[in-house]
């Protein structure tokens, strides 16, 4: 029985299992974004009755505990919590060349660390779209945590991502489908195929497999977009092929990991910068993914827009709204260059329930600095300036470019938001399997530059922390 549509009340009977495992098994997992390591605090539940043990500590209800650290001691106990949202807006559109017109019906799938999107194509027309969250999220919210879990739980990780993909394929219908193609970062691609991604976890971050052999899904041929490097995967291969990257152009995919591919006169270079989960709402007081109720654009504390329309009560902020917030409040003098409120305050209230804390701003500044420092370091290292920047991925889709430039996250250049080019590339490969040759040619072109080995990266990072 739940007290409202979001929270859930559950009675647990005698069990020695972790509370988080019991709740997950009920089909309504709490938010386990740190992988159940007890550090993100997102799986907090309210104990209504019973005797419990959280870590080493004995707890008597009523109390708040982390589900991933807690076990029941008494015969039964009741808890109340908010399950993790598995609904939301999954980016499944893009800006690219028209798709090939063939007689075959095919499906392309973009496997992201957080979300998965699939599109069905028939005679050059999109006849179905589906999206979901990656069920692997219960193993942690970022690829590095997934790699570390793979050491002991590879079969579970493989099953989780395949279950997610399977749901989408079932939704789109596999009848008459001639071919499926998938694109994803190197870790997702490896886990999908049951390949242990452990080598990607430590220096020199070498991917175990870059070119995956053709396989099958329910007897249907399945192709995988090949990967470039450990942290520059098939999603980027698809992206550079989709935009047809040319000299002077850079493709940037902003996510927890921000990947960049830059075509210089001396060849193509690529890199990845750890931006952290802030743009996806992670680690912030009211951070949110793009779900109904999330504020997606902000002009002032009295003027903002909410996803899902005017009748929905605002419940959080998307990354794009935070970017708007920094730009607007800096411009009108409520924030100084260090991202501190003026006059001094620790938080600013936006609605009677939601605020943005200076700690949130700190996380956002670190994230935007990683993106900008990555771009600046690549340009400086190559002694070459990008004349045009393509922005791929779900976060960029909602981004107000002028605000991203105003806060110094992006340089002032012609920028184009290209959407989910990973999905576009997967669909195109499914429709034209001969394109594999071209994709394989692309993956050998970029030379990987580890940013942290370049001394100028730290300097650029610190410079980029400031709000211009």
């Amino acid at each position: 029985m739940s007290s409202n549509s979001q929270t859930r009340r559950v009675t647990i009977r005698r069990s020695t299992e972790l509370l988080s495992d019991l709740l997950s098994a009920s089909g309504h997992a709490p938010d386990l974004r740190c992988g159940g390591r007890g550090i993100c605090g997102r799986c907090k539940v309210h104990l209504l009755s019973g005797e419990w043990q959280e870590g080493e500590r004995r707890v008597t209800a009523p109390a708040d505990v982390l589900a991933c650290r807690t076990r029941l001691l008494s015969a039964s106990g009741e808890v109340e919590y908010t399950p993790f949202h598995h609904e939301g807006h999954v980016a499944s559109d893009w800006k690219a060349e028209p798709l090939p017109v063939t007689e075959e019906c095919v499906i392309g799938v973009d496997i992201g660390t957080t979300t998965i999107a699939a599109t069905k194509l028939y005679r050059g027309r999109i006849v179905g779209r589906a999206g979901c969250f990656n069920l692997q999220s219960k193993y942690g919210d970022n690829v590095v945590t997934r790699i570390s879990r793979a050491a002991t739980e590879l079969p579970g990780l493989r099953a989780a991502v395949r279950e997610s993909v399977g749901m989408l394929l079932a939704e789109l219908g596999l009848d008459g489908v001639a071919r499926i193609a998938i694109a994803g970062n190197t870790v997702m691609s490896s886990l999908f195929h049951g390949v242990d991604p452990t080598p990607i976890g430590t220096m020199p971050f070498t991917p175990p497999v870059r070119i995956f052999p053709e396989s099958e899904w329910d007897g249907i041929p399945l192709l995988t977009v090949p990967c470039i490097a450990g942290y520059v995967g098939g999603d980027l291969t698809a992206g550079i092929a989709e935009v047809g990257l040319k000299p002077g152009e850079m493709l940037v995919d902003i996510g927890t990991n921000c990947e960049m591919v830059f075509y210089t006169p001396e060849g193509i270079v690529c890199t990845a910068a750890a931006a952290g989960p802030a743009f996806e709402g992670g680690g912030l007081h009211f951070g949110s993914r793009a779900v109904d109720g999330a504020i997606d654009h902000y002009r002032s504390a009295t003027d903002f827009s909410v996803l899902g329309g005017g009748n929905v009560e605002p419940a959080g902020f998307c990354g794009s709204a935070y970017v708007d917030f920094l730009a607007c409040e800096r411009k009108c003098g409520h924030l100084n260059e260090f991202g501190r409120y003026e006059p001094a305050a620790d938080r600013m209230w936006i609605t009677d329930k939601l605020f943005i804390h200076e700690c949130d701003i700190e996380q956002l500044l670190k994230a935007k600095a990683a993106v900008r420092a990555g771009i600046d370091t690549l340009e400086e290292h190559c002694s070459c300036r990008a004349e045009r920047i393509f922005l791929a991925g779900g976060f960029a889709r909602h981004l107000a470019l002028e605000n991203a430039v105003a806060i110094g996250m992006l340089p002032e250049r012609p920028c184009e938001i290209v959407g989910n080019t990973s999905l576009a590339g997967a669909v195109r490969l499914a429709a034209s399997p001969q394109r594999m040759t071209e994709l394989i040619r692309w993956i050998d072109l970029p030379r990987e530059i580890p940013l942290n080995t370049l001394p100028e990266f730290e300097d650029h990072f610190i410079d980029s922390l400031l709000l211009p």
């Binding site: 590095v144 976890g201 750890a274 700690c359 701003i361 500044l365 670190k366 942290n452 730290e458 922390l465």
Partner: protein, 207 residues
């Protein structure tokens, strides 16, 4: 005579060029190195660290102040060595094997220097032999940093290597927690760079 208040403010505000100018002028005037450190640089770094601990300053301000501090220290370091000044203690610090992320580690190193410690920076991708080199150079505390969940487990090897040797091993970095430090038997953990200074203060006081 150096305006120590101006030097302190320049460090706290992160004004790298001002710090360089004031320190260079003090050096040109052959002023007492100890005074520049003890009345200017060290109190400044302690103050920004304390503000950070009280949530009155955040990582961006800390990094910018640390960079200004580093610019001043770079000018002073040769003179410190020549002056025979006794440091509060020697610490070797490095990012663990398999990892090359070093911004956090560098910040801890500068904060420790700013607090009056001598720091041997071992760089990134440090194996046990590398940490040993630091100890051979006189370090009594070894600091291990890691950004990746996948490289963190190497800290256990470092802790085990130094077990019983008298060398203390302290750990930190994004995925690291106090619980992990306890699990592997590290001598200390800190959540942030200023906490690392306090941790070293307390460990060396106990010696």
């Amino acid at each position: 005579m150096t305006d120590f208040e101006a030097l302190k403010n320049a460090v706290i505000k992160g004004k790298r060029n001002d710090v360089t100018a004031i320190v260079q002028e003090a050096i040109n005037n052959k002023e007492d190195i100890n005074a520049i450190l003890d009345k200017g640089m060290i109190p400044a770094m302690r103050e920004i660290g304390d503000r950070f601990s009280r949530n009155e300053a955040y990582v961006p301000e800390l990094l910018i102040a640390a960079r200004a501090m580093q610019a001043g220290l770079a000018l002073l370091e040769p003179l410190i060595a020549a002056s025979g000044r006794k440091s509060l203690g020697k610490i070797a610090i490095g990012t663990v094997k398999g990892d090359l992320h070093d911004i956090g580690k560098n910040l801890v190193a500068i904060m420790l220097k700013g607090a009056g410690y001598e720091v041997i920076d071992l760089g990134v991708n440090c194996d046990v032999a590398k940490y040993d080199e630091g100890v051979k150079q006189g370090a009594v505390i070894v600091g291990c940093s890691s950004l990746l969940t996948t490289t963190m487990p190497y800290m256990k090897e470092v802790v085990e290597h130094f077990k019983g040797s008298g060398v203390k091993v302290i750990i930190g970095g994004a995925p690291v927690t106090q619980a992990y430090a306890d699990e592997i038997g590290a001598d200390g953990y800190s959540e942030d760079a200023n906490g690392a200074v306090k941790l070293v203060d307390s460990l060396l006081k106990a010696c």
